[in-house]
């Protein structure tokens, strides 16, 4: 019996949420999960808020995740973590990339970027992991692999073997970027273990 898991991936257009969801779906499929995945990507290239809803189970009906239902939120950006927090299930886990990307209303001075987002989320949610995925990715050799650092951290929380993840990653990313992506994945995967 495969444990059902509902995952919400949230971020900003251009951060690579779609690649992360593709690899996760491929890994989940390899272990026999039924999958439904929903994306709203019409505005992804225009710097809007983007979200991927990924549902894994023996049999999945709805492709959507409602408020209070996500087992895991993988937030690629702090403000998006705050925006989607109502979707987290009581007792659920949130992984947050500590990057901040100011939306235009903030850049234009019409709104403030809230201070202390991570601290406030930590006050309310027991299972919070915060990563500097961008810095880690740069250390691994390419800033663009920040999404795979976060993927590694997510992988640690799912009932799927590491080798399965590696295979899914290799099948999804272009071969010339595999080495840096593997390093990024390792860094994220080991993060939970305190590396």
């Amino acid at each position: 019996m495969l444990k059902p898991v509902d995952i919400l991936m949230v971020g900003v257009g251009g951060q690579g949420t779609i690649l992360a969801s593709k690899v996760t779906a491929a890994a989940a499929r390899a272990v026999g999960y039924d999958i439904k995945m929903s994306e709203i990507h019409g505005m992804a290239q225009r710097g809007g808020s983007v979200v991927t809803q990924l549902r894994l189970g023996e049999k999945v009906y709805s492709p959507l995740i409602s408020e209070g239902e996500a087992d895991i939120i993988l937030a690629f950006e702090q403000l998006e973590a705050l925006r989607w927090l109502p979707y987290l299930k009581p007792g659920g886990a949130i992984i947050i990339n500590n990057q901040q990307i100011y939306p235009v209303p903030v850049l234009a001075g019409a709104a403030e970027y809230p201070a202390g987002i991570i601290e406030q989320i930590k006050d309310r949610v027991a299972d919070v992991q915060v990563l500097d995925a961008l810095k880690t990715a740069v250390e691994c050799g390419n800033a663009k692999a920040a999404n795979v650092v976060l993927l590694g951290a997510l992988a640690k929380k799912l009932p799927i073997e590491e080798t399965t993840w590696r295979e899914a990653l290799a099948a999804t990313v272009p071969p010339r970027f595999l080495e840096v992506n593997n390093a990024a994945f390792t860094a994220g995967f080991n993060f939970g273990a305190g590396c």
């Binding site: 995945m37 492709p63 705050l82």
Partner: protein, 585 residues
């Protein structure tokens, strides 16, 4: 073999497997990826038409001549294609014809959320509604068969969450692409009144036969369950109901025109309490009520927006079908509100400077559909209206003719793809009726908003072949526009000068603001830098609404990772603090 596919990719796969020879459409979210996917199979001829009406006519022609045809569009596209649709129901087909209507409940990327199920009933054509990717693929095949057997176009109605959600699909082998013989038959295909009357009677007969088929169709079925609660549903709502009420009896309707009325009556008779769960309009509910059946639908469920299982669960709890929900502690209670992150024009977008100028000049600006609709949002606020594809030109002309105060102060802005879609006739009207309007064609050489599709002015087809490139200047001149100017939208002084001159000039003018979309052609320019000493923190640059520019502690800064060196901010800066990027960085 199974593959994880979006509904759109599954429809493309279905067209490939079930013998479609020709596919046509116009891009529109959430339908665009169907033809993009299908064109990759190469065995199927695919094309972008300039608009949905033409696309459907291309499909009708191919089907009448004996080929299987698929036509795709978003929901509002069917309004454009409605004229051929209604009469194609009379003529019928020869090869199968499936029209995909991609509706957008919740308006993720649309100007309205009309429920196109009514079109099937109105035009008297068959309608199928898939609820996941597997059904989407299967229903392309079923739709083509129904179309041929009952001599009728078939609408395949999907919604955003079917189009853009991925689920597992069993792949099959492609069948043959046979073309049926074409026989000239004017009584069937030449719709003059005398023959139209014959086909009208035939259409009524065909709909009767379809209604009988609907009772037997494998896509209308009952899930046996507890008879206390029965639910009739279709499309994505079926998935939500199965999730929320796993034990209930469910009548799942895959064919929603014509409805299987006897099946509905029988189902209603065996359940104690009957509900209808459907997004948008009470389409099923109204027809069920006409049978004299008592049913709970829109008195419980909203007529607006998109549903999710949380909403369906809450509503069934309100109705007492599910136990009242315990109020869970919301983890976000007491947290600050997250400021919105609206989509914006990209850094280097060639439209930005035009909107900045229009707002500065305080002109009345009718807008249109595309990326540039984003130019209406603060702080640019460069357009006043957006109604439908091509509306900008007709509306500007109406203002010009009716309101003397706005004469010579009204400008229409429209994209290149939208102009070719339905702006040409509006411009022709403006010329014919002696308008004084100015039309700005924002020519970024692509259909940008939907993800960069080609069109008749890009020089390339959907299949990747070279094509003649329509010359917009010559086109406007041949319509009778005497004043046509081409400007580089990044040259703000020139843009302002030309707009002022053309707005003041009598007669209709066209300004073509031409520069390729910043996402398809990235200029090799270095980023703008800010001379901190000269920057006074006046925030003029922020009025450009550029995601690369911010001001903190009274000093502007430019994010070098985002900036593409378009230099609009250099032109706007009054203190000379913005230093332009060089062309050969």
């Amino acid at each position: 073999m199974k593959e994880l596919l979006t509904g759109n990719a599954a429809i493309a796969r279905g067209a490939y497997e079930y013998g479609v020879t020709l596919a046509a459409g116009y891009p529109g979210t959430p339908s665009t990826e169907i033809l993009e996917n299908l064109s990759k199979y190469r065995d199927v001829y695919c094309e972008w038409a300039p608009n949905e009406k033409v696309a459907l006519e291309v499909g009708i022609g191919a089907a009448m001549a004996g080929a299987r045809a698929l036509v795709t569009m978003k929901h509002v596209g069917v309004n454009v294609a409605a004229d051929p649709l209604f009469t194609a129901a009379y003529t019928g087909v020869n090869g199968g014809l499936v029209l995909v209507s991609a509706d957008d409940p919740g308006m993720h990327s649309s100007q309205n959320e009309q429920d196109n199920r009514y079109y099937a009933r109105f035009a008297k054509v068959a309608m199928l509604e898939p609820s996941d990717s597997q059904e989407a693929k299967d229903m392309v095949g079923l739709g083509l068969s129904i179309s041929e057997e009952f001599d009728i176009p078939v609408m395949l109605r999907i919604t955003t969450r079917v189009a853009h959600s991925q689920s597992m699909v069993e792949l099959g082998e492609p069948g043959s692409r046979e073309i049926k013989p074409y026989c000239k038959d004017v009584k069937k295909n030449l719709m003059v009144p005398a023959f139209g009357r014959l086909r009208r009677v035939s259409l009524a007969e065909r709909m009767d036969r379809l209604a009988a088929y609907s009772e037997q169709s494998p896509v209308n079925f009952v899930i046996e369950g507890d008879n206390k609660v029965g639910v009739i549903t279709s499309g994505i709502s079926y998935q939500l109901v199965r999730e929320v009420l796993p034990g209930a009896s469910v009548l799942k309707l895959g064919m929603t025109n014509p409805l299987p009325l006897n099946m509905i009556k029988k189902f209603a008779a065996r359940v104690e309490k009957l509900y209808v769960v459907e997004e948008l309009e009470p389409y099923l509910e109204e027809q069920i009520r006409m049978l004299g059946i008592e049913v709970v639908g829109k008195e419980l469920f909203p007529v607006t927006g998109e549903f999710d299982q949380g909403l369906v669960r809450r509503k069934f709890a309100e109705a007492g079908v599910l136990p009242a929900q315990a109020r869970e502690q919301n983890p976000a209670a007491g947290l600050p509100q997250a400021p919105p992150r609206p989509p914006v024009l990209c850094p280097g977008c060639p439209h930005r400077g035009v909107f900045y100028t229009l707002q500065q000049l305080k002109l009345t600006v009718t807008g249109d559909i595309g990326c540039y609709t984003l130019g209406g949002l603060p702080p640019l606020e460069g357009i006043d209206t957006c109604v439908c594809m091509g509306a900008s030109i007709g509306m500007a002309h109406g203002i010009d003719k009716a309101v003397p105060d706005l004469k010579g102060r009204t400008v229409a802005v429209i994209g290149d793809s939208t102009f070719l879609h339905s702006g040409i006739t509006g411009l022709l009207n403006a010329v014919y009726n002696n308008s004084d309007i100015t039309v700005i064609i924002l020519d970024n050489r692509t259909t940008a908003m939907t993800g960069h599709q080609d069109h008749p002015a890009t020089g390339r087809t959907l299949m990747g072949r070279e094509a003649p490139e329509v010359d917009l200047t010559m086109l406007c001149r041949s319509l009778g526009v005497k004043r046509v100017e081409v400007v580089d939208p990044l040259d703000m002084a020139r843009v302002k000068e030309v707009i002022q001159a053309e707005a003041a000039a009598p007669g209709p003018s066209v300004i073509i603001a031409r520069r390729p979309c910043a996402l398809i052609k990235r200029e090799a320019r270095s980023a703008v830098t800010v001379d901190q000493e000269n920057c006074k923190g006046c925030k003029m640059c922020l009025k450009l609404s550029c995601p690369a520019i911010s001001v903190a502690d009274k000093k502007a800064s430019v994010n070098a990772n985002l900036c593409v060196g378009c230099n609009l901010c250099v032109q706007v800066c009054k203190t000379g603090a913005m230093k332009g990027g060089s062309a050969d960085a």
